[in-house]
Amino acid sequence: MAQPEEHGGSSESAIVLDSDLKELERLEAFIDAFCERENLPEKTRYHLHVAIEELVVNAIRHGACDPPQGAIRLAMRMEAGEVRLTLCDTGRPFDPLSVPAPDLTASVVERPVGGLGVHLVRCLIPDIRYERREARNWLYLAKPVVADDDDSAL
């Protein structure tokens, strides 16, 4: 099983995951540990959990990473009051920014069940950049720290 990579001396933490939904438990613990170390507000922690877990689940479910071992790497660090994330996976090319927004006004019968995850990520993370490089998907995300009493963001 892949092990977390702690980068001493800097504020960056990283974890390598297998492409397996069972890895979500370790991912959750990793995000918790980072947020605890950086003393992030509860609302920011929640947004990070939702966004990161949605992206990782997408990579696991649809990426067809081969081999699955060590296929996903997440790095997190603090910079300029933001949480900066780099998420890399060896799956098939997938740019979440290319996914059209779901029609949330359609009747429940007509609504697509999929697509909500990417929609949530885009709602919660204002700055997302994608590139395909070295046969990997690279996502660069920046999440401003949201105070718990800041109601401008959910």
Partner: protein, 134 residues
Amino acid sequence: MSLAIEQREREGIVILDLKGRITAGEEATLLREKLRELAAGGMQKCIVNLQGVDYIDSTGLGTLVVCFTSLRKQGGKLKLLNLNRRNIELLVLTKLTTVFEIFNDEQDAVNSFFPGREIKRFDILSFVKEQASG
């Protein structure tokens, strides 16, 4: 990471008390299978009590929608009870508050199945105002 489901009945309505997370993997599958099994047994009225659910992801939301539509196709209804603030926010972001009937009080949720009984529904506008006023 797990989901526990306890089933009880009140005035002929099945109430599922959920505890844990409704997320991609075993948790969402467990809920879908439970509701499928109940619907196959003829259940038509169901309240899903989310008081003990601290986290729902998009797969969990999708599972609730699939269960809602499946039950509705056979003439049944599925309503939600006791969502926490975070879970309500996810429903707002995905506009699922326009799909589900949501209640904060179990008696109100039960009463909603009986025409003529007084009920108080979850008021999303009040919720947003409460958030804005801190």
